[in-house]
Symmetry: C2
Subunit: 965 residues, 2 copies
Amino acid sequence: MSCNPGQSDKLNVHLVPHTHDDVGWLKTVDQYFYGARNNIQHAGVQYILDSVIQSLVQNPERRFIYVEMAFFWRWWNQQASEMQETVKELVNNGRLEFISGGWCMNDEAATHYNSIIDQHSLGFAFLKNTFGDCARPKIGWQIDPFGHSRELASLFAQMGFDGLFFGRADYEDYKQRNKTKTMEMVWKASANLDRQSWLFTGVLPNGYNPPDGFCFDLFCDEQPIMDDPRLHDYNVPNKAVGFATNHIIMTMGSDFQYENSNEWFKNLDKLIHYVNEQQVNGSDVNVFYSTPSCYLYALNKAGHKWTSKIDDFFPYAHHPHGFWTGYFTSRAALKRFERHSNNILQAARQLNAYAAINNQANLFFLNEALGIAQHHDAVSGTEKQHVADDYAMRLAYGIDKAFEVINASLTKLMTKPEKSTPTAPQFLCQYLNISECLPIENQERFTLTLYNPTVHPRIHFARVPVTRDYTIRDPDGQVIMTNLLKIPKATYSIPGRKSFAEFELVFKTVLPALGFNTYYFEVNAEKESLLYKLVENNEISKNNACTLQNQRVRVDFDESGNLKQITNLDKSITVPMKQDFFYYEGLYLYYLAFIIFVNNRLFLAFPGNNTKSEFQASGAYIFRPQSEESYSVSDTRTITCVKTENVQTAQIIHNSWVSQQITIHDGQPFVEVEWTIGPINIKDSVGKEIIVRYDTDIKSNKKYYTDANGREILERVRDYRPTWNYTVAEPVSGNYYPINSRIYIKEPNRQLTILTDRSEGGGSIEDGSIEILIHRRTLYDDALGVGEPLNETAYGTGLVVRGRHWLIVENPDSSALFHRIGAQQIYMAPIATFSLVKSTFKDYSENYYTTWSALNEVLPLNVHLLTFDLQEITADNVAKYLIRVEHYFENNEDPDYSQPVIIDLQALFTQGQIVDMVELTLGANLELKDLSRLEWVTVDGETSKRSPFKKCKFHLKTETNDFEF
Amino acid sequence: MSCNPGQSDKLNVHLVPHTHDDVGWLKTVDQYFYGARNNIQHAGVQYILDSVIQSLVQNPERRFIYVEMAFFWRWWNQQASEMQETVKELVNNGRLEFISGGWCMNDEAATHYNSIIDQHSLGFAFLKNTFGDCARPKIGWQIDPFGHSRELASLFAQMGFDGLFFGRADYEDYKQRNKTKTMEMVWKASANLDRQSWLFTGVLPNGYNPPDGFCFDLFCDEQPIMDDPRLHDYNVPNKAVGFATNHIIMTMGSDFQYENSNEWFKNLDKLIHYVNEQQVNGSDVNVFYSTPSCYLYALNKAGHKWTSKIDDFFPYAHHPHGFWTGYFTSRAALKRFERHSNNILQAARQLNAYAAINNQANLFFLNEALGIAQHHDAVSGTEKQHVADDYAMRLAYGIDKAFEVINASLTKLMTKPEKSTPTAPQFLCQYLNISECLPIENQERFTLTLYNPTVHPRIHFARVPVTRDYTIRDPDGQVIMTNLLKIPKATYSIPGRKSFAEFELVFKTVLPALGFNTYYFEVNAEKESLLYKLVENNEISKNNACTLQNQRVRVDFDESGNLKQITNLDKSITVPMKQDFFYYEGLYLYYLAFIIFVNNRLFLAFPGNNTKSEFQASGAYIFRPQSEESYSVSDTRTITCVKTENVQTAQIIHNSWVSQQITIHDGQPFVEVEWTIGPINIKDSVGKEIIVRYDTDIKSNKKYYTDANGREILERVRDYRPTWNYTVAEPVSGNYYPINSRIYIKEPNRQLTILTDRSEGGGSIEDGSIEILIHRRTLYDDALGVGEPLNETAYGTGLVVRGRHWLIVENPDSSALFHRIGAQQIYMAPIATFSLVKSTFKDYSENYYTTWSALNEVLPLNVHLLTFDLQEITADNVAKYLIRVEHYFENNEDPDYSQPVIIDLQALFTQGQIVDMVELTLGANLELKDLSRLEWVTVDGETSKRSPFKKCKFHLKTETNDFEF
């Protein structure tokens, strides 16, 4: 790639033609691709790419960048080989450059690092396979996401990116940076990885739009350059430019622009011609086509020293009442489904690899659907309803296809060589979270296989909804002690639940690392009619004070059903607390609408009318409560405590649409809170934002801690921003941060940690308090484009959402051990598959393995197998795998597990010998040894090192293949 | 050109990709060309052409037609030679076909045949010079004009066109034709030219738009064809087609479409592919790219017999209250300026040719401006105000440039070889119609040169506004008898008039054919202060009955100032009449707006809300009076009669905004009515449509006669249409027809003819009555796109318009002689140029010729020199001319002058000998001998002959070069 270096004595204006193509938002990804439903929004990416290629061919000076591989891949597949060759040439010449190169431009607040890496790797692999190394993206390009995560910057650095540009920063931050000329900086993006995580980061000067008067897209109304003096309307002398620094970037494009790229390029050609023509008259402006890489390169060569930054860019506000913190929680069900889908994808990959069935083709669908779902209007919840439905449909379809792989893999792994009976298929029961698994209802026999996708053995309490009583055998054929629990009424009444099951069997399992156990269920005929009686054997108390307690933890409730305190019995630490569900009112103003006269202009005031920031409504993006006051969903509650050997639970009903189960399991340290919210009552015509809040006596001193994308922890300070003088206009919303997996508060000896099963928003608005926004229903649009209130419905009523939190009461020094392991157990949960069988256990176990592990030895507890993905099996039967192994504790958070660790990769391959291996960048598109990143110097004189990824040691083709973290 | 003939056993669907590009409407022609002011309307023709060429190159199957040369020429001039070669190849292969090929798609109601021919010739010449004969247009394509003129069809036939397609026909006509399958027909387009005027004519099936569901333009919201089964939203099976006949045309395009032609073509490619793919499954639909020529060729080959038609398609109504008859008059001032501009252009061409100054370059501007002004939203008056201003500006600029030619030519022709004094430039006084010529005010001496652009000598009464008294000498130096008249007060008060002149000198001139006379003015110093007294010498009567009378005509007024009768003294024919100015009220409904509930839908009723045809308002297009009642502009009037030797005039003031002067000139048979209307009073918030109406005792028996484009006369019958059973919903508007130059009513022995100086609308709503709509001011938009009321203003108030009618009272047999000659004298009036001189008459006449004619002999009175245009002067000094000579009387309208006539073309070239000549089609782009038109058979078995243009005999290189008409 050749860059125009500009001229040292001129102001060099880098014109960067680009299009910003949302991978779904107001329309679905395919509607955007084809240009369907243009009545919603005019946008057709197929035409953009058709058009841009033509324009690039026409003039070799022109450049274009393309970002979203979800679209490019769609387009590429439809091209004839001739066109593909043309594009390859453009890419090789640097005229078409891929920037960022992920499947989408991912959201930064609601995404998990596992999926961020995957979606980038998916795009990178497509690019590498299609265009070779020349097309490797080198720049992060997060021009539209609403808030920026430090973790993403760290991941980008580890992917080998040289820099990151984005468009949106908090209005106060932006103002200050603009004033102090610190729009560009070195972001020290990890507290653990040092310089290998540093990333040059720039806030773009005009969002991602062109400067006023210079939008030449067909959707812009601005004047083209009219340069034929033979015609009327000649306007060349009127178009003038003026800038302030020696190199400046101008993003020449915007949402879905370049559908007819000739309009842009023709006018840019003219702009360049006429502006540079003035140089002979003494003009010192030098304009040329460029790309972010070329601009970055020019900045790098400028010899400047840059300020640095260690915090992140959350939350984002565009005005004093416009905090984009609602989307941390928006579409809570979709957010969970996305996380769940990743769980399945990772497990399916492992099984495909270990069973060596080489069916990557069927994994692609879920991989691609998850790639799309990472988009900043997908998992973020900021899309239109029909688009959210499309994302869910894609994930569901992807799961179906991935499950074909799981089924085939499990079948292969389970089936003994001597097997004689035909194999019954495995199936998923995806409604287990509402205690529904229709195929097993009333069956005589079935099996449950639990596959553990982590590299550590784990204890798991299985929960199976039943209509009959069953005897359950463990893999060895031993009958398991099970408990029968009545399914709470709140579950029956969830709209859409079809099951007749009123009971659940709960039993303890110990699952092998990277392996499965199969549990054999046989109906307990003689007890069948006694189900109700069996349940009554449980110790049940209703509306009395009660205490749940196992070997490690005790949970006390008062007689009104309030959670009173949690005690860590191992450490003798008690945290007294109040817990309740509250709602904030979505903005409604005091009257629904009123008329305001300002400067002789009359306008209607209503929430979401964004003529004034005061009218900012809560919506898909924005959390803007009516006031900082929150209201309890109910003054009273009913509590039913049920105690069995395996499980003890308090079922608490707050009102007709809010309930929870607080549960502890035998021997387990976590207190599980499963909440069920919805349909949110809007009969009062007030939108509601539902939180769960824990008020404790922990002296948290304004500080609280949230994770970034499920990875590192960032300290948050209430009503404060580390890098600017923060004005408090929204005392609640302005203190909300993304919670991808955990939030905690602490004092020297006590810490309350809450793990989540999906991304949510929350914060600590009072010392000792943690609140998490778990479900939202807004009645106004927040006027940021989506054009719909966030008013999700299903089965003709407001959407019901169920989720889980795990509470950990520990001392701060030990907390990481629990929240690291716990969070991993939640996001990489066992995959439960069922199978209907006819044979007896004896027959079954003669034909099938009932337990299996990929590993011979246990891997260290601080090692996570992030990716285990079979790439191909060659003709001579050599398999190629993509593996990511992760030390997933931070520095200094645990005395033991924060230490470096050595593993032998061969441990992952019990069936074969590693014959070769190469270490790659995080995105798996470059050998690490070939990586060379641009070097930057901070104002403190620190220099980002070249090729900094040297911490891991590995020994090729030795017997050990040790990795030191 | 190769055409896909279709398949005889299939329904053949001719897909015709096209764009309809208005040469000005909501935006100016250059704004449309460049895509400027896209906030008004998104449209950029430069991009359309850029884009279409790319798409045609990409797939050789694709076809496209282009129509408006005003745009194509603009685009072509900006292309590099490489692109020009590409386009030439596309044209030669028939992939890009020019249809119609005029500078614009001209209006049919308000245009004059002289300018229609010119605008087509301008486009044809560009095409021929650029692409050669292969690009000759063969089809008329009037898809958007609102009503269709028989004369245009005749002109098209004479241009060698094989057929005509248009989009709009009266809703009743359309319905009937649809029902009787007579959408296509043979139009017998001239009452005089027989089969050489016959033109196959088709009404397009869907206006000019694609069928529902098949608009793939970027401005359409319809679903694209989504054909990648790998993606979601695959919809190929849903797109289906169904038609009824063996060949059908589908116009795949619309207004300013194909800006990104890939969107159209990509989907049409797919449509063709998937529809034809079904043929293997038995489908009998055969879809392919085609052009109107190919479709026409297929129809021609089908062996059908077609119905014929002899009337025209005026007026056009799209619903019972939607008669598009307002635009016959809309923008009365622009309509006159356009006609005036043509007068100057034709004279300038003649002078350029005879003076042989070879300055066609400067004539081009006016030629081009007039080409643009013929557009169906230009001279029609149906454009936005700023666009009307742009047309006027272009014409004014064109006149300035053409006047450079006139000045240079006259200077050359006037200057004697022995001339010694420097030549003073000639100048135009374009405000003479409001008695203003600032440069001569207070001058001591100046000359007036009158150039007569007709081939006949003519008597002309010159009228010069003066601030002093002058002695005027004729070309021989004789002092002319002049009369001094006071300029009426109504003229002073016209907003914008800057002149201090209060008087006009009127004198008689006899101008030579195709030549000029110069009149020498010298101030009459001793009489200077006596101007007022001089005027008082005229015979003046105020508010008394008066009679104007010369040798040929008498005009009687009663004591109230009413015109009472006109008498033709030669023939002793008297027509008693009432004459007055009336207004119709533009629709206002009875309340300004009211709310109507229909079927539970609530809507606002107001004029121009086109939810119901009853709400149709008057506007730029539509004349929709509140009722058939018209109101006199005043109950009283003041009359001042002034009689002098040269001129007798009655100045009648009706009210503060309506006045007229009725004038006869010494020895002349015409009664001139010069009306001055405006600012139309709208203080009552009612828009007004101003008519002048003559109520006579002529027993006209429902019939009246109007011209078509200034050429042939068509009979009109009140409340009747020749070809369908007409429903009378609008008794006034539905009986209006275009009056381009004349309207008359008659009975066996008397005929009242009114000649106009511009296009107007009018009719005969009662027997014996003629009314002409002369000025309009509407307060509502008529909801047909223009988006503005027709509310013209100037100088801060409503626009004042002045115009002239000539009244002729004659017997029907003699009327043609007078109206043919009179109409020619009005539209080809003498061009008055002034020059400031310092010398005495003696000096002047020694240096300058004061009279000159191009002709040695007088040409017959029924011959009109329509075009006399120098094409080039070769290096060896041979000049090439384009000449159109016209027999301008119709068959049987005059006993003498309707007869064929023989002329010697050499008479036009007194200074040189004709060395060669070729006879061309009317558009001058094909030798007549090479013309071969398609042959059509009518249901009556008549066959249109091939090569029918054989009536003219000419003898090449003989001494006579006779033309027989």
